[in-house]
């Protein structure tokens, strides 16, 4: 599926730091200006390199991915069927690319992540797949997406996510709050650095409006 030999060689790691949030920028009349420094960084790679999926793609994980979809395609569960259709093994659903590059929540050797009993506490990301540069926010949602697939990914493959290039920043007020639409580009490679997919991803980062 695509030009052989295209390589996505990349190395390094991506980790998120901690900050004390300040949402006051969203209350100012000139709130859009808070995004100016980030606009000036369009084109920059925020990833500090790459990160590996914590796990290789596993047959059980693929099967569980299908459960909430009630999706019974045999390419995703039956090795013989997959082989009969030209694949090296059970292939993972294409829509789950973000799942197959998950860096996990916690691994042996990591610091504890469940430190308190606050009902809504969220553990710090082990690896934040999408860094949040710019002014502090308390809301983020996916808005746009495009995956260009170069080759399938199968059980046993271990994927790596490479790069996070900021491609646009568009401040905008919406019904959920004030913030900016950000778009990013990255790529995904497998364990032999063969390019799996190119990713274009958009998010809306915002300070939420209080629901009345």
């Amino acid at each position: 599926m695509g030009p052989p030999g295209r390589s996505g060689q990349c190395h390094g790691s991506l980790r998120r730091g901690t900050t004390i949030p300040d949402f006051s920028w969203a209350e100012r009349d000139d709130w859009e200006r808070a995004w100016d420094p980030l606009v000036a960084q369009i084109g920059q790679d925020f990833s500090e390199g790459s990160y590996d999926a914590l796990d290789a793609i596993e047959a059980g994980a693929v099967r569980r991915f299908l459960e909430p979809l009630e999706f019974d395609c045999p390419l995703h569960v039956d090795e013989q069927v997959a082989a009969a259709h030209g694949y090296a093994g059970i292939i993972a659903p294409y829509s789950g690319l973000a799942t197959w590059i998950s860096a996990g929540l916690w691994n042996s050797g990591d610091e504890p992540i469940y430190a308190g009993a606050d009902r809504n506490a969220h553990p710090r990301w082990r690896v934040n797949p999408y860094p949040t540069p710019g002014p502090d926010i308390n809301g983020r949602t996916a808005t746009d997406l495009q995956y260009d697939y170069v080759r399938p990914f199968a059980v046993g493959d271990k994927l790596r996510s490479c790069g996070r290039i900021l491609t646009s920043v568009t401040p905008k007020e919406t019904r959920v709050g004030r913030g900016a639409f950000l778009t990013w580009e990255s790529k995904v490679v497998n364990q032999v650095d063969a390019l799996i997919a190119e990713v274009h991803f958009g998010v809306y980062n915002y300070v939420a409006r209080v629901r009345g």
């Binding site: 991915f65 999706f71 395609c73 495009q146």
Partner: protein
């Protein structure tokens, strides 16, 4: 459930063809199973309080779950020899929250050949009670009934 014994070929497809629509009721249970399966543990997808604090009406489906719905609709149409080449561009337009049913509707918008590949573009919409939650396209390659002669 789909009939995986039949294969659709590029010659069988015409622009304007509709794909069978599929409905996906979004219970809290389904959203939580999907969060675990996709490893997307952003709280907006499984925690009503957090989702409301961020401006949504309730916990809502993740992009991975919504894409998965599209993949099922598309895969059941293109069969086992079809290949998904591109998902997107797509736009998330509103939150598909718990209690909604997402109905995926799709139709063929373009059919062409490129670099010996027989390609088809499918436009998809994920509808909820208040309109479109997601719109976009998926590009696929289909097998041909008659292989193209190779140039020596």
């Amino acid at each position: 459930m789909a009939d995986w014994t039949s294969q659709r070929y590029w010659e069988d497809v015409a622009e304007g063809d509709s794909l069978p629509a599929l409905g996906f009721p979004l219970s809290v249970h389904r959203l939580i199973v999907a969060a675990g399966a996709s490893k997307d543990f952003a709280q907006i997808h499984h925690n009503t309080e957090v989702a409301r604090a961020q401006g949504a009406g309730d916990m809502y489906a993740s992009n991975v779950l919504l894409l998965g719905m599209w993949e099922r609709v598309v895969r059941e149409y293109i069969g086992l020899d079809g290949v998904i080449v591109r998902i997107g561009p797509l736009r998330m337009k509103q939150f598909a929250t718990a209690g909604e049913t997402v109905t995926v509707r799709a139709s063929v918008t373009r059919k062409w050949s490129e670099d010996d590949r027989a390609l088809v573009e499918i436009a998809l919409r994920s509808e909820i009670s208040t309109g479109d939650a997601v719109t976009g396209v998926v590009r696929v390659a289909l097998p041909r009934r008659t292989p193209v002669a190779q140039t020596p």
